[in-house]
Symmetry: C2
Subunit: 383 residues, 2 copies
């Protein structure tokens, strides 16, 4: 195999069609051709977000959209409920604090989803909460959080509901309008399967009302300026956008909609189930609690008897397959397999075939082919 197979939770393997679209000659970012592409791409983003709100593209990775979401709504001493159950939940909390907010943490054990009741209690116990922030799919722990249920809770309060769907959008169900997500953001390089370096954000009326009143130190990620330039006909961006990645996003989103959003999400669910079953068939255990497990990546407990470096190093050096390690205190304790974007049966077959061989090399015992058989079983039941 010539090219490395990317089985990390983003960036994911990008289809040739998207890479080719990206390699088109550059166009004037202030001209009508770019305006039309931008218009079309943001409209597709809104379709994928399942919202009637406008979407905006940011030339920056997912973290830049996280910062845009926080910096534009938070002023000094604003109270924010941050749901924190992993590294990305922490990031929204850090951003809250960097921009002067007072964080009220709803602590969730790593590996578990938040209980909506805990958010409700935090809202009851604190007056004047400006926003509730949450990660839909916490890729550090491979957990999916119940945004629909939490949305129902937050709806009864003044607080904005800010949701990061960087590693779930187009791979798991995200209904911005139905779930009452006031601000929702995502990235290019996960389930959408474009290269990294671009992110997207969509903002509802209630959030705009807050943003219009906030005067916070933000410039490159100033949403008011994005709205102003985005409202031009044809639309523009405040600063020079990544033209090439706009082409790529346009093509990748076209592929999402050609496949059909529901089909694509279902395909991710099947990939997730197959991965979980295959891992368990090899005697491995899953990190996330049952029922809370992500549909776009799986975290597997590192089995005793092999180190992270040996396991992932063998996968990389011998088989040219990249899987991810754990983050922060999970480093060395779990490894993570992304099943995002265009990844499907074939990629999982390669991955589990080689994972079986790697585990055998380090002395693990199981029936050869057991993982692959489990994959086959799940895929055959879902044909």
């Amino acid at each position: 195999m010539e090219d490395t197979l990317l089985m990390i939770p983003g960036p994911t393997t990008v289809p040739k069609r998207v890479l080719d679209a990206m390699a088109q000659p550059i166009t004037n970012h202030r001209g009508p051709v770019y305006g039309e592409i931008l218009d079309e791409t943001t409209a597709m983003m809104s379709e994928v977000f399942q919202t009637d709100n406008k979407s905006y593209l940011l030339t920056g990775s997912g973290t830049s959209a996280m910062e845009a979401a926080i910096a534009n709504i938070i002023e000094k001493n604003d109270k924010v409920i941050n749901v924190v159950g992993g590294k990305f939940g922490q990031r929204l909390q850090q951003l809250t604090e960097v921009f002067g907010g007072e964080s009220i943490e709803v602590t969730v054990p790593w590996g578990q989803a938040v209980n909506p009741e805990d958010v409700k209690n935090a809202l009851e116990e604190n007056d004047d909460v400006k926003a509730v922030t949450m990660i839909h799919n916490e890729s550090s722990t491979a957990v999916v959080n119940p945004i629909e249920e939490v949305g129902k809770v937050v709806k009864d309060y003044e607080a904005l509901f800010v949701v990061d769907t960087v590693s779930s959008l187009a791979g798991d169900t995200v209904k911005v309008d139905d779930y009452g997500l006031d601000i929702c953001l995502s990235g290019s390089q996960k389930c959408i399967a474009a290269p990294p370096g671009m992110s997207a954000i969509t903002i509802g009326d209630d959030a705009w009302n807050v943003i219009d009143k906030v005067d916070s130190p933000t410039y490159y990620l100033d949403l008011k300026k994005m709205r102003k330039m985005g409202d031009k006909q044809p639309p523009q961006t405040p600063y020079t956008p990544n033209v090439s990645l706009t082409y790529a996003m346009n093509e990748a989103l076209s592929m999402v909609l050609e496949e059909g959003l529901d089909n694509r999400i279902n395909r991710h669910h099947v990939g997730a189930e197959a991965t979980r079953k295959a891992a368990e068939a090899l005697g491995l255990s899953l990190f996330a609690r049952e029922g809370d497990r992500s549909n776009t990546l799986t975290a597997i407990n590192m089995p005793e008897g092999v180190s992270d470096g040996d396991l992932r190093g063998t996968m990389r050096n011998k088989y040219n397959i990249e899987i991810a390690g754990g983050q922060d205190h999970l480093s060395g304790n779990v490894f993570r397999i992304g099943h995002m974007g265009i990844t499907g049966l074939q990629e999982l077959a390669m991955t589990f075939t080689c994972l079986e061989m790697t585990l055998k090399e380090f002395g693990f015992e199981f029936d050869a082919g057991a993982g692959v058989a489990a994959l086959q079983d799940v895929y055959m039941k879902n044909q």
Copy 2:
């Protein structure tokens, strides 16, 4: 001509070699392959910046690097001398104010370069100036500012010297170490001729000493985190980088160094002279003051008798060539031709041939071919 010829001051036409490099499959941004590419690319950036300091790549356009330069050194009420003689000088001033700094403006008439004496006077008149900010090549006015001379002035004071070389680096002389530039930043899409969406910054020891003491609201563009992750072996970025644009920058910078930095800068000087002479041969006048004119783009006063929309519209729609209009109060009053990156004689020949035809269409009189003849003359003298 199939593809639009981009003669705007960035983004510029990107060589096929660079587009092809960009279209390579994505690699793991936390893996050794990416680390090696990043290491190589930032080393080439430092070579082009002519500095022994490390350089960092930012996944964001030039404005994100401008924000990084300001937000990481400015705290509330810090005094900053902003040299303002155009839109981008204003941007550094706006950033200063957004991040709580007190701006001391050295006002320069649009179309002129700053007089270093004016910077010296501002430094004499104000104690405790934290930084002097300046645009090397002000692309809104097509003026080049004397960074070497201003560098000599600032050296005698405590203030940091922060210079934006977005539209000059690799097209005009920038010697970060020799000129005493404490922070210098640039973009991917101008003279380096990569696609837009990435920027670069290099930081000297004095600037790091300031940055280490500053606690400002910055997260995505936090330079301390960039240094920490960049110091790993192999280096990483704090957040997911634009992997594809890193490939593109690597290839584009390789092309810069293959051509030779001095050769490339000289080629830009010749293109600038040819453009100025060709415009004047058609009876057009130049916006910027003689002696202050940019080597990477030229601003031409809009001749009476044709509108900006007609002139640039005809160039676009009839000849498939994009030239730029004026910005802010110069809108409608000037048009701008970029001669950046890989642009040379051939591109200028197309541009002036079609510009002559456009002007004839609107009733202007001059000897047909006069502009092209002026181009030829300059290029033949410089062969």
